[in-house]
Symmetry: C2
Subunit: 334 residues, 2 copies
Amino acid sequence: MVTIKEVAKVAGVSTATVSRVVNGQGKVGDQCRARVTKIIKELGYRTNHVAVIHRKNEAKMIGLVTPKISMAFFGLLAAGAEEMARELGANLLICNSLYEVESEINAIHALVAQGCQSIILHSEYSESEQLIKLCKEVPGLVIINRFIPEISERCVWFDNNSASQACTNYMIDKGHRDFAVVSSIYQNGDPCARLLGVKQALLLRGITLSDDLLVEAGANIDGGMDATQELLDKGKPFTAIIAFNDLMAIGAIHTLHKAGIRVPEDVSVFGFDDLPMAKACLPQLTTMNYPIEGMAKYAVELSLSLVKDAPKHAKQTHLFVADLIERGSVTEPK
Amino acid sequence: MVTIKEVAKVAGVSTATVSRVVNGQGKVGDQCRARVTKIIKELGYRTNHVAVIHRKNEAKMIGLVTPKISMAFFGLLAAGAEEMARELGANLLICNSLYEVESEINAIHALVAQGCQSIILHSEYSESEQLIKLCKEVPGLVIINRFIPEISERCVWFDNNSASQACTNYMIDKGHRDFAVVSSIYQNGDPCARLLGVKQALLLRGITLSDDLLVEAGANIDGGMDATQELLDKGKPFTAIIAFNDLMAIGAIHTLHKAGIRVPEDVSVFGFDDLPMAKACLPQLTTMNYPIEGMAKYAVELSLSLVKDAPKHAKQTHLFVADLIERGSVTEPK
DNA sequence: CTGAAAGCGCTAACAA
DNA sequence: TTGTTAGCGCTTTCAG
């Protein structure tokens, strides 16, 4: 590896001068700069960033901790983060936490030790207390997708409640009255907030949701299929299904199709997230767009600025809202 | 930040001893080790890995360069790489190349400068010469998804040809004779090899593919829709579509559906890749499973071993093969 | 078994 | 404008 030292020797200058040339800062004579530049090229010198990071104690690395990068939603999150990171001249270091509380914490510590000052964390199960503590230790830590009042300025999150109210109202406006809800079996964060939003909207419009028509399962395609089958087995009539997310909505459509029930003619199905997959199924899903890529980009920017200087607006939080994407899975009931 | 020095001072030993305790190597007395361990805990000391990497000049980081992490296929690739990296106690650093030759090279250099010794590169457009040169510079560089004979031992790739022959033969065996092919407009690597495989299989079975029934478009859902529309417009009859990938296959199904043509009753559609999305569309896609996650894991392992010691079997290459996944989009022709 | 000391490659005062 | 020098935090001989 060619070092700054060798360049200096060959060019007959000091390492400091080479450093100045490399970084383009400080005063350097023109012919001196030209000669050094030439030597750098000839020798194929390349900065050892590890040394720089070590020296300056500031890494241009953004750490990202999500449960599982292979899941479509987190893939999108990572994509957004990477995009902004690259835009800001940083690299993205990713860690899967696999939904384990301990690996979340471990990942964060590992990232810090790697020199990451900026970290984006998607945490569903860690205690708020734990996260608040972590935020004190790591100035560049940003929590994505969860709101904790005590550290509101570190939270980039999403208004599940109003989004699911909007989706519910949309269906009510279409004329639906008999709703079924396919929710996630894990009633933390998102699922809980969304279910609440649906119930609230229904309540406000004077519609009751029968307990029989609220079913839970794993938040994936298979879960959606199972839950919908359960719904069908109960035999209670409904004209609309509100699914926790697109995956479950797709599962619902498949089960409905197998049972000879047409979507949307017989039953409308509403998704959530607007994954790329939502466009793949037939009919294409009407769904709420969860702007996770944009949120991730924002989070990276926020994190980097947090590292630089403490937040100006101590109590500002960062809330994103949904768009309703109309496609083909919802229509008026017969 | 608590350093080894402070621990040493508090414990009344030298930094060398603390280092030995931390790394569990070298001889250290029992009570001495116990005391140091206790102090480490009390002070909350945590290794500064940047310093370690700098000192040892060996990073436990795997770099991954793909065109675009948000695309499902590359998300899967990243997921596999991350999984193996974590298993091996390493971190994954990701870079998007956005299909630009120059950013590929830049990304590699940046990664090397960051201390990455192991790099997994998915490159479609760089010249082979360039990559061969790069491989000489970077001992831990592994090329995924492409075969270059001169550096065969660095290539982890996939047998597109036999896979597409298998898929074609499968449909011929079902009784299909009138084929249409929806291919990618970019006739490099994968698309080229797959198209060749289809043509070869057809030839061997004495079936001719009409030029009219070979169309090209962007390798995504919309491209699949457009290409299929083009096919329909031409008016030539066919009973089977072989699509370049799942995305195009899904697009084909949508266009067919819109035209009132049933899949698979009227026309069978074959995909490629077996993305999670393949299970989302109706009917679910019959497709070839591209084991990209497994390949990525393998590539990481290979890369790491390459860094350690030169390959034992100089001319061994690393070829993966497909599985045919039977789902609902292919059946016998009427 | 333990400590002293050199040095990884780079930057940033401080001098000159 | 340029050079000298002192580290960043850690590991690793080499002595003791």
